[in-house]
C-alpha cells in the first residue's frame, strides 16, 4: 500500500467532513481513525475508490464518536442528523486547511504538529518520534492546537506567508526517526503549490528541491558534515535540481520577488557550478543584497559576508562581517573561516574552537572542532 498516496487524501477527506457540518476537531480525529483503519484493512482488501472509502469510514467514525459523546452527556433525545449533502471539496478547501493549521494564534511548534497531522495525515506517534518527544506530549500539543483554532471559521482567508514559515520549519527539521520530515515538507509544499498560484510558494518549493538534491552529498558515511565546497557534486540529484530550477524560473518571470525565491536563486547558483571554484559568487552577492532588501533577518547579512569573502577576498568578507552583531548564531564560525582564508591560522583555530563551543547542533559542533584540530596540528607541525 502506498502510504504517501493514502496520506495525500487526508486534506480533501477532512474538508468533506467539515463541509458536511462536522466541527474541525472532531472531523480531524475521525479522519485519523479512518487512516489507521485503512492501514490495517487495505493490504488484504484494497478498496476500488480509496477516497470514497475514507470518507464513508471517517463519517461513520465521526457519528460513532458523537453518539458516544451524546450518550455520555445523557442527551439521548438529540436526534441524529443525516449528513447534509456537502458540495464537493475543491482545491480551496485544501488551502483553507493549510491556513487553519498555520493560524497566527498558534505557536510555531503547535502549527507544525497540527499541519503534519491534519494536512499531512501523519499519526501522533509518527510526529512524536520525528520530534523526539513522548507520544502523550505530542497528543496534548495537537489537542491544544485544535482547541486554539476551534473558534476560527474554516473559510476565512489566511496569510500564505505564515503557511510557508511552518512548511520551512518542517523542512529544516530534516530527518530523524522513520519519518522523513524534509520529504514530507516537500510533499506538503507541492500540494500547496497545486492549490494556490503564488510565486513565493513556488520559490519555497524550488528552494526545498534544490537543497534536497544535495542531501546525499551533505553527510559523510560516518554522519559528519561535508561543506558545500567539498561535496561530491556527482552525488547531487540533477533531476531534482532541474525541477527546482524550472519552477524557480517560472516564478521569477512573474516579477514578484520574495524571500524564498531569492534564497532559491542562491541555491540554484550553487547547484549550477560544476565545481566549487566555478561558483558565480558575484551573482550570489547580488542575490544576497536583494534578499537583505526583502528581509531584516541578520542571518542573511552573515551569509552575505561569506559570499563577499569569496567574491572579493577574505579581507572584504571580514570587513562586511565587522558591521554585524557578533552575538549572531554562527558569526564566530564565519569569522574563523574568513581568517583561515586570509592566512591567519592562529586566530582561525581559536575562533573555530570558540564556534564549536557555541554551536547548537551536534554535527556542526563536531565539524567545527575538527577544523580547529586540523589547524592546531598544522600550527604545531
Amino acid at each position: 500500500m502506498d502510504e504517501a498516496l493514502l496520506r495525500s487524501l487526508t486534506p480533501s477527506v477532512l474538508a468533506i467532513l467539515v463541509r458536511r457540518g462536522a466541527d474541525f476537531a472532531a472531523a480531524e480525529d475521525a479522519v485519523q481513525d479512518a487512516l489507521v483503519e485503512a492501514v490495517r484493512v487495505w493490504p488484504a482488501d484494497p478498496p476500488r475508490d480509496a477516497k470514497g472509502w475514507l470518507v464513508t469510514v471517517a463519517w461513520r467514525k465521526f457519528l460513532d464518536a458523537r453518539r458516544a459523546d451524546t450518550a455520555r452527556r445523557r442527551r439521548e433525545d438529540l436526534v441524529e442528523e443525516e449528513p447534509t449533502p456537502g458540495t464537493a471539496p475543491t482545491l480551496d478547501d485544501t488551502l483553507q486547511l493549510y491556513f487553519l493549521c498555520a493560524h497566527p494564534s498558534l505557536t510555531p511548534s503547535s502549527a507544525v504538529a497540527l499541519t503534519l497531522r491534519a494536512v499531512g495525515g501523519l499519526t501522533t506517534r509518527q510526529i512524536a518520534e520525528a520530534y523526539l518527544v513522548p507520544e502523550a506530549t505530542m497528543a496534548q500539543r495537537i489537542s491544544r492546537a485544535k482547541r486554539t483554532v476551534a473558534g476560527i471559521r474554516f473559510d476565512q482567508p489566511g496569510d500564505v506567508a505564515t503557511v510557508l514559515r511552518v512548511l520551512y520549519l518542517v523542512f529544516n527539521e530534516g530527518y530523524s526517526g522513520d519519518v522523513d520530515l524534509a520529504a514530507e515538507a516537500i510533499r506538503l509544499t507541492r500540494q500547496l503549490a497545486a492549490a494556490i498560484d503564488h510565486p513565493e510558494v513556488a520559490g519555497l518549493l524550488a528552494l526545498m528541491l534544490i537543497h534536497h538534491a544535495r542531501r546525499a552529498a551533505r553527510t559523510a558515511p560516518d554522519g559528519s558534515l561535508v561543506p558545500l565546497a567539498e561535496q561530491d557534486r556527482g552525488q547531487w540529484d540533477t533531476k531534482l535540481i532541474a525541477e527546482g530550477v524550472e519552477i524557480l524560473q517560472a516564478a521569477l518571470a512573474r516579477d514578484r520577488l520574495g524571500e524564498f525565491q531569492a534564497q532559491a536563486a542562491i541555491a540554484a547558483l550553487h547547484a549550477d557550478a560544476p565545481t566549487a571554484e566555478e561558483t558565480d559568487w558575484v551573482q550570489i552577492v547580488e542575490w544576497y543584497d536583494e534578499l537583505a532588501r526583502l528581509t531584516d533577518n541578520p542571518v542573511v547579512r552573515l551569509n552575505r559576508a561569506v559570499a563577499v569573502g569569496e567574491a572579493d577576498g577574505p579581507r572584504a568578507g571580514l570587513a562586511a562581517l565587522a558591521t554585524l552583531d557578533d552575538s549572531l548564531p554562527r558569526h564566530t564560525a564565519v569569522a574563523a573561516y574568513l581568517h583561515e582564508r586570509d592566512g591567519d591560522l592562529t586566530t582561525a583555530a581559536r575562533l573555530y574552537a570558540e564556534a564549536a563551543h557555541k554551536a547548537t547542533n551536534l554535527a556542526e559542533a563536531a565539524h567545527l572542532t575538527r577544523h580547529a584540530a586540523r589547524l592546531n596540528a598544522r600550527l604545531r607541525g
Binding site: 505557536t107 510555531p108 511548534s109 503547535s110 507544525v112 504538529a113 520530534y131 523526539l132 518527544v133 513522548p134 502523550a136 506530549t137 505530542m138 497528543a139 496534548q140 500539543r141 495537537i142 491544544r144 520549519l169 523542512f171 529544516n172 527539521e173 530534516g174 530527518y175 530523524s176 524534509a182 537543497h211 544535495r214 551533505r218 553527510t219 558534515l225 561543506p227 558545500l228 565546497a229 561569506v306 564560525a333 564565519v334 573561516y337 554551536a359 547548537t360 547542533n361 551536534l362 554535527a363 556542526e364 559542533a365 565539524h367 567545527l368
Partner: protein, 137 residues
C-alpha cells in the same frame, strides 16, 4: 521548538533563598513539595511541553575502562564531590524565554514553612541531533 534540560543539584548550585535542608521540614511540607513537583510535570504534559523527568540517588559509582580483557575499575563515591545532580526535567518549548519561565516556576516549589525554596536550577539547551539544512563553511 527546542529541548532544554532543567537540572536540580544536591550540591554545587548557589544557595537557595529558603535554604533549609529537606530533613528539617515537616512531613506536610515534604508532601506539599512532592505534590507541587508532580502537578508541575502533569501541567507540562497537558501543554505538550514535557519530555522526561527523573530523580537520581545521591550516591553513585565512578567507573572507567582498565584495558583489554580486564574488568572496569570502580571507585567512589567521593564525599568531597563538589557538584551533585539530584534530578532533571527535559522540556520541549518554543523559546528560551519560555524555558526560563518554566524553570522559574519549578524553582518556586514550596519548602520549609510552605514558602518557595527559590532554589537555583541549571538550564541547559540540548544540541539538536538532526543536521541543519544549510551548509557550513
Amino acid at each position: 521548538m527546542a529541548k532544554y534540560l532543567l537540572l536540580k543539584h544536591y550540591k554545587g548550585a548557589p544557595a537557595a533563598v529558603n535554604d533549609v535542608p529537606m530533613e528539617q521540614w515537616t512531613p506536610e511540607e515534604i508532601s506539599a513539595h512532592v505534590q507541587y513537583m508532580n502537578d508541575f510535570a502533569a501541567r507540562l504534559e497537558k501543554t505538550g511541553e514535557f519530555v522526561d523527568g527523573q530523580a537520581l540517588a545521591p550516591e553513585g559509582t565512578w567507573v572507567r575502562y582498565d584495558g583489554e580483557g580486564r574488568p572496569p575499575v570502580t571507585d567512589g563515591p567521593f564525599a568531597e564531590t563538589k557538584d551533585l545532580i539530584a534530578g532533571w526535567m527535559v522540556i520541549d518549548v518554543d523559546s528560551y524565554e519560555r524555558a526560563v519561565e518554566l524553570a522559574g516556576e519549578l524553582s518556586a516549589a514550596p519548602g520549609a514553612g510552605g514558602k518557595p525554596i527559590h532554589e537555583w536550577l541549571e538550564l541547559r539547551p540540548f544540541l539538536s541531533a538532526s543536521p541543519t539544512i544549510t551548509e557550513c563553511h
